[in-house]
């Protein structure tokens, strides 16, 4: 269970998040949508403390992450993250990218980590690309390696930070297909996305953000059929 309490975030004088309160229930899929600059990515990055909130609490499985720094890494281990720009380790092959944290964090033996990496990469359709370096992969392939890298840790939650924004439409589809396959497999998925149709398709809950605030948290069906706020209506009508 992930809980954000009274989170606010300022970059110098700019308010990026304003008094955010939200709970993420286990095994559900959440889509965070809203226009650019609404604070979606910052909110996501607060969950694993890549961004430290200016005020407020981040509570994961009962642990106050900001207070209890020694538990940060063990918690991060259980929260996978996939980034807009893939952020693969440039000096490691696809396989090594997946193996790295298994060896360093999970303290797996090399053979064991390798087997896990091969399995995860095969699952995302990259069995042929194990020994390729990131620069030899297409954008869609890179993102699938990044997903495999996150999944190999067997996280309870996985955060997607605009996973398809740097991809062309074809690659976007191949990555969305993989993300969709993770739906309701026991993980909590939290996805920041501009792919509204995709959000509608996969999410159980829509979190609609505007101007540093959460305006709406609704069941997906409800949100698309009758949004509560004017701003959400406007946002949706602009999407069509």
């Amino acid at each position: 269970m992930i809980k954000l309490e009274n989170i606010s975030k300022k970059f110098n004088e700019t308010v990026v998040l304003k008094d955010i309160n939200i709970e993420f229930e286990p095994e559900k899929t959440y889509a965070i949508i809203g226009s650019s600059g609404a604070g979606k990515s910052t909110l996501l990055r607060c969950i694993n403390l890549l961004e430290k909130p200016t005020t407020g609490k981040v509570i994961v499985d009962g642990v106050d992450l900001i207070k209890d720094k020694t538990l940060l890494n063990p918690i991060r281990e259980k929260i996978g993250m996939v980034f807009q720009n893939f952020n693969l380790f440039a000096h490691m092959s696809a396989k090594k990218n997946v193996m790295f944290a298994l060896i360093k964090v999970k303290k797996m033996k090399i053979a064991e980590a390798e087997a896990e990496a091969i399995m995860q990469l095969t699952n995302v359709g990259l069995a042929q690309r194990l020994d390729n370096y990131p620069h030899q992969l297409s954008g869609g392939e890179k993102q699938r390696v990044a997903i495999a890298r996150a999944l190999a840790m067997h996280p309870k939650t996985i955060l997607f930070d605009e996973p398809t924004s740097a991809l062309d439409p074809e690659m976007t589809q191949e990555v969305l297909k993989v993300i969709k396959s993770l739906n309701h497999t026991g993980m909590t998925n939290i996805i920041v996305t501009h792919e509204i149709k995709f959000a509608q398709e996969v999410a159980d809950v829509i979190i609609f953000m505007n101007n540093a605030e959460i305006l709406e948290v609704s069941n997906t069906k409800e949100f698309f059929e009758k949004p509560k706020t004017e701003r959400a209506k406007e946002f949706l009508s602009n999407m069509i």
Binding site: L50, N73, M81, N87
Partner: protein, 217 residues
């Protein structure tokens, strides 16, 4: 006066002996300097008093001539402390600190060249700072600045020639001794010049091989 190597033939083994002295100082200073430089570059990433101290240290060693540093350490400081170091110790200390200052700056640039996203990704996976530094940042930083590091090592080999100031019998010092004994300059100078050149060509080739080995794109 014509060029005549016969007069200095008997001194050639003596001149060649200088290679050891030169290499000893250069290699020891390169190793110590690299280690210190790496430590400084990592420590100076955090703002604070330490960062200011390291910056002052680097400014001193980059902003004054090496010859001055050697004289200052070997002749200047002992006047105050009363402790007179051996020439070898002085050379080792000054050259190590001097290269550490240059290497710290080179490595800092290398570290800053690493894309922050990779570091974030590692943090998100729960990797600790030590493993991030030594497995993600440093291998890529080293690869990016390897040519600059090799350049620094080549400079180091050449600059060891100033140790003749504190009467260490390196290549340069031995040439002066041989010249004084034989009244010949061209021949011994030519010999040590060729030796310096060969050492640095070897060094630069080692650099190229390393660059190829570390290549991943």
């Amino acid at each position: 006066m014509k060029v005549n190597f016969e007069g200095i033939v008997e001194y050639i083994p003596y001149l060649l002996g200088g290679i050891l002295v030169t290499l000893e100082i250069a290699i020891a200073a390169a190793l110590l300097g690299s280690l210190l430089g790496l430590v400084f570059s990592l420590l100076s990433r955090k703002k604070g008093l330490l960062q200011i101290g390291i910056k002052a240290f680097i400014d001193f060693f980059r902003g004054t001539p090496l010859l001055f540093q050697l004289a200052f350490f070997h002749y200047g400081i002992p006047q105050i402390t009363g402790i007179i170091p051996t020439p070898y110790i002085s050379a080792l200390v000054v050259f190590s600190l001097n290269s550490s200052a240059y290497l710290a700056e080179i490595l800092r640039a290398g570290i800053e060249s690493i894309d922050k996203g990779q570091i974030e990704a590692a943090h998100a996976l729960g990797v600790n700072n030590w493993d991030i530094s030594f497995n993600i940042i440093i291998p890529q930083a080293l690869r990016n600045v390897l040519p600059a590091i090799m350049n620094e090592f080549i400079t180091l080999v050449k600059e060891t020639s100033v140790v003749s100031l504190i009467s260490l019998t390196d290549l340069m010092r031995r040439q002066q001794i041989v010249s004084a004994a034989t009244y010949r300059f061209f021949e011994p100078l030519l010999v040590i010049g060729v030796i310096y050149l060969i050492m640095n060509i070897v060094l630069s080739n080692i650099g190229k091989v390393l660059e190829r080995k570390l290549k991943y794109d």
